[in-house]
């Protein structure tokens, strides 16, 4: 069978990773040992094999404590290993082939390089993501993530896992062991138990690593003493202090390969308050610990993850949570890191001082916190995910903005659709004008001349969309089947309801809510294009559909006047009723189509997310000119925001357009807006009211970049002058000068309000 090539970038990687601390020969040795164990345990239960493999990695891959770390826990990863997500290592038993090849170049001897080749060959057959890709990828409709030639991309990953750390800090390790032992046993439970013992060895290793750090600096030694005594404590006890709870949570997240953390105010707030009330620590000490956590998260450099979420509905000890929130806001403002993605959930009861601190943090240019409106989102999640209100209150956005329920649901975005490309299939008898490959599968696509009404064309497009929705739900579900066939994700399973209770791994029927998400791109380019077609062809009858399509096929060369006419038509983002209604109609068709298919296929939920990392830019490169006037190869619109040039009616208009979508049909949608520092400071009260009104009108989310006129342009020319100019790309923030020119250009194209 011809192998599908799945090599290449597997995730957005803007932040440069910190290299592994081990020598190349030791790294090779570890990868060989891992491979050997994987091979030897082939006949064993997947959970047993997994824990045996993890024993190769843990605690060995933990690296030294840095000179200013206040909690222990730094973990390297290699081109071969075990993980959950593509941002750190890979998925399940993984091999990242291009990284393994790059690794090979560092080796000095032929003998060593040959050893790498042997690994490479083995993993071609056993890398979990490769196994999945062989099943679903093909030459025309379905590409790997990220290969933008296709209208649809699919991947296997377990992104966005946010575990029940409350359970961890409440029970401690021994409590978890007791819990595991209280249930009937099976291989999964045995492996889970072994995981807990392995976790203890990780903690013991941290004590050794900490011991190596003592210096003549008394203050530093004092911190190390605390680190050591708390590590010793949590080995056998449930945490009693803020620092102990923080330490335990952090090491667990590392072992689980989780890169989004979730509602840490709920987990850590009560410990913090207790310690402060009892006088054990003061707020300055708490600030230091959290600043250290911030640095550890930044140093993992996942680019699009690292969510810490505070605030909002569904918190028991609100006072303690808010205390934690206030200190986080200070840390966030002072550090100005691109990660963690610090996220504030708020509602009408959120204290004013917290909202004010959040505003100041945003105005300072930190791009954080990103704002989530619980007054809207909780109801929406309740409907979208079909859960009760109490569960919906525990929603958390991860990565670029997809929602999951902390500790209860899987919602990984393993499928991605390019709506603009699919429209082009409808306009070109199923062929993609970019490469003239037929990508409509079994769908019969009629010639343009047959569409007598706009509705007939729109119906044809919908038939194509339906086909891709079917593909999506199949590929999403199949990613779970393949991952479940290979691994148990033990560390994840242990802290996800109700894997222990059911004695089943997360994807084996263990998780309470098996959801999923589908990232849709080009939403607005497509609805604006449909509007242009309806207006010029069917309403005004100024052009035939063929004439418009020919102009787009020529990338508007020789058709510049027609393009000018198209660009002059009303566009989404300007609070114009009928054009916004087009966007909404398409949104609802796509969102409901995906959601209904998920339900029909037995998923607890399957929702679209209108977010993006930089896939709008990457996919735009491979997408032909569209009938909204966008040229060939130009970025697609970011998330559900208008195309850069299209919004010119001020921030109220764009926010009014954005708030028209009914949020209950999606599983996360992100909204970017860009202001000057002048406006953020001089018109502070008005901008606050602007945000507030938008949220009252049903706005679900907002994230704000603050830059000055000409600053981004100047940073392109003189990057050395702007080492800490942070911008919000979409679902992540980045140092502007670290972005590629094409992504920078997309950011520049967005309207700056002053």
């Amino acid at each position: 069978m011809a192998r599908i090539n799945i090599d290449g970038e597997q995730n957005v990687e803007v932040s440069i990773k910190i290299p592994c601390e081990k020598s190349y020969s030791e790294q090779l040795e570890i990868m060989e040992a891992y491979t050997k164990v994987h091979k030897e345990n082939r006949s064993k239960h997947k959970a047993i094999r997994e824990v045996e493999c993890l024993k190769v990695l843990f605690p060995r891959l933990f690296r030294s404590v840095e000179s200013d770390d206040l909690i222990a826990g730094r973990l390297d990863f290699l081109p071969i290993g075990f993980g959950s997500v593509t941002s750190i290592g890979g998925v399940g038993h993984y091999c990242v082939f291009h990284k393994l090849r790059a690794f090979k170049k560092h080796l000095k001897t032929d003998q060593e390089r040959t050893r790498v080749d042997a690994l490479y060959d083995y993993w071609q057959e056993h890398d979990v993501k490769s196994i999945y890709c062989q099943d679903v990828l093909n030459e025309d409709t379905t590409g790997r993530f990220i290969d933008c030639k296709y209208p649809f991309m699919a991947t296997a990953r377990l992104s966005g896992m946010m575990l029940d750390y409350k359970k961890l800090v409440t029970l401690g390790i021994n409590g978890l062991i007791d819990l595991i032992q209280s249930y009937p046993t099976n291989e999964f439970m045995q492996a889970s138990l072994e995981c807990m013992h392995l976790f203890k060895s990780v903690i013991r290793r941290q004590i050794e690593l900490g011991d190596q750090c003592y210096t003549k600096d008394k203050a530093r030694n004092c911190d190390l003493d605390l680190m050591k005594s708390d590590l010793e404590y949590i080995l056998e006890h449930k945490p009693a202090t803020f620092h102990q709870a923080l330490q335990l949570f952090w090491l667990y997240a590392l072992c689980a390969g989780c890169i989004n953390y979730g509602r840490m105010d709920i987990v850590l707030g009560p410990f913090l308050k207790n310690d402060i009330d009892s006088g054990l620590i003061d707020e300055n000490q708490a600030y230091r610990y959290l600043k250290s956590l911030w640095k550890m998260i930044e140093n993992r450099r996942t680019t699009v993850n690292g969510r810490i979420i505070v605030g909002g509905k569904g918190r028991e000890n609100v006072e303690a949570c808010d205390l934690f929130t206030r200190i986080c806001l200070k840390v966030c403002k002072d550090t100005r890191y691109v990660e963690p993605q610090f996220t504030l959930r708020f509602d009408s009861n959120t204290p004013k001082d917290i909202m004010d601190m959040a505003y100041e943090c945003i105005a300072s240019g930190a791009t954080y916190p990103t704002l989530y409106n619980d007054d809207v989102n909780v109801d929406a999640v309740q409907y979208g995910m079909r859960v009760d209100r109490k569960i919906a209150e525990q929603y958390v956005p991860f990565g670029c903005g997809e929602y999951v329920i902390q500790g209860k649901s899987v919602g990984t975005p393993n499928t991605l659709l390019n709506l603009t490309k699919i429209l082009q299939l409808a306009l070109n008898s199923g062929y993609d004008p970019m490469d003239h490959i037929y990508k409509a599968g079994p769908v019969k696509v009629l010639p343009l001349s047959s569409f007598r009404t706009f509705e007939e064309l729109y119906d044809q497009y919908k038939v194509l969309l339906d086909y891709y929705f079917d593909l999506s739900v199949y590929c999403q579900k199949h990613s779970y089947e393949v991952m479940n066939q290979e691994v148990s994700f033990l560390f994840n399973s242990i802290l996800m309801d109700d894997c222990l209770g059911r004695q089943k791994a997360i994807l084996d029927g263990g998780v309470e809510i098996l959801g999923g998400t589908n990232e849709t791109y080009g939403n607005i380019n497509t609805s604006d294009a449909l509007y242009a077609i309806k207006t010029l062809v069917y309403d005004q009858k100024k052009y035939s559909l063929e004439e418009l399509n020919v102009a787009a096929l020529h990338n508007y060369e020789g058709y510049e006047r027609l393009r000018k006419e198209i660009l002059a038509l009303p566009k989404y983002g300007n609070d114009i009723e009928n054009v916004d209604e087009f966007a909404n109609d398409l949104y609802e068709y796509v969102a409901k189509g995906i959601r209904n298919r998920g339900i029909q296929h037995g998923m607890d939920y399957y929702l679209i997310v209108i977010s993006n990392n930089q896939t709008n830019t990457d996919w735009g490169h491979q997408t032909d000119a569209s009938l909204d006037g966008r040229l060939k190869g130009v970025y697609l619109n970011p998330a559900n925001n208008p195309q850069g040039y299209a919004a010119n009616s001020g921030p109220t208009a764009v926010l009014n357009s954005l708030s028209k979508f009914n949020v209950k049909y999606h599983g996360g949608s992100v909204q970017n807006i860009k202001f000057t520092p002048r406006m953020m400071y001089e018109d502070k009260e008005k901008v606050k009211i602007l945000f507030d009104t938008y949220f009252k009108k049903g706005g679900c989310q907002l994230m704000v970049t603050v830059v000055d006129h000409g600053q981004l342009e100047d940073a392109q020319k003189h990057p050395e002058k702007y080492p800490d100019l942070i911008v919000r790309v979409a679902g992540y923030s980045a140092v502007f000068v670290n972005l590629t020119k094409d992504v920078q250009d997309e950011l520049l194209s967005r309207t700056l309000y002053d």
């Binding site: 006047r561 000018k564 921030p651 109220t652 018109d683 008005k686 602007l690 507030d692 309000y753």
Partner: protein
Amino acid sequence: MIRVSNIEKFATHDGPGIRTTVFLKGCPLHCPWCANPETWKMEPTLLHDERKCVQCKTCMYMCAQEAISFPFQWDIDKCIYCKKCEDACLQDAISFVGKDIEIDEVIKEVLKDKDYFDQSNGGVTISGGEPFMQFDAFLELVKQCKENGLHVAVETTGNYSLDKLEQALPYIDLFLMDLKHLDAKKLKDVTGANLDLILNNFRYLAKYCPNKVIVRMPVIPRFNDDICEEVIKFCAVLKLAEVNLLPFHTMGKNKWNQMQIKFKYDQDSMMDRDILNPYMDIGKKWGVKVKIGG
């Protein structure tokens, strides 16, 4: 129908709260520092952006009236406003400012942001040009604004007869009224304005509704930058509570260029707003609130 040059949303400098400002065409004055010179004439005004223009001259060839010549020059007397030049320009270097809009449509557009107005105690501001130039349409507009529960401000020169002011007064909540000079001749020579008309209107408003007035003084180098205190005193005498000193800026310069008219203050830089700060204390002395900027 009313002739509008622009509708700006989230206007933050044209009165309290979040506002939508409707800029109307037509002005009786010709202040050489004006930031909106494209509003002066009632007819649509052609703006030509040199930075976008590639000198292809398509606009010139398209113009049957020969109203366009190069180096770019637009002959307003020949132009019949067919706008073929605007349609033909692929660089979007040509645009006409000013179009007739049904008053209902203006109201509809303004009301889109009513939620923002209500939350911020904002509203609509009618500006220009001089809004009173299209008096009948303006009166209808402000009437309908009031009928829709909007707070209505006008940015106005005050350069019209008192009877017009009296007719409009019931529908206006706030006058942002310019006082550019207290010397009638200087004012007339430089701006064309009639100080008597303006002062008459100020006195009337001061008598009947002083709380509805904020005096606005654009502080212009070599024209009136030496009489700020006199203006403050004038306000004190009339018991007008607030004056805004608007520091000279050059943000309208590009529009002058686009109209192929030399901007008189080409060599002047933006005024540092801090130099006006001392007037805040002077204002206190006279019992007048002095604010720097609008």
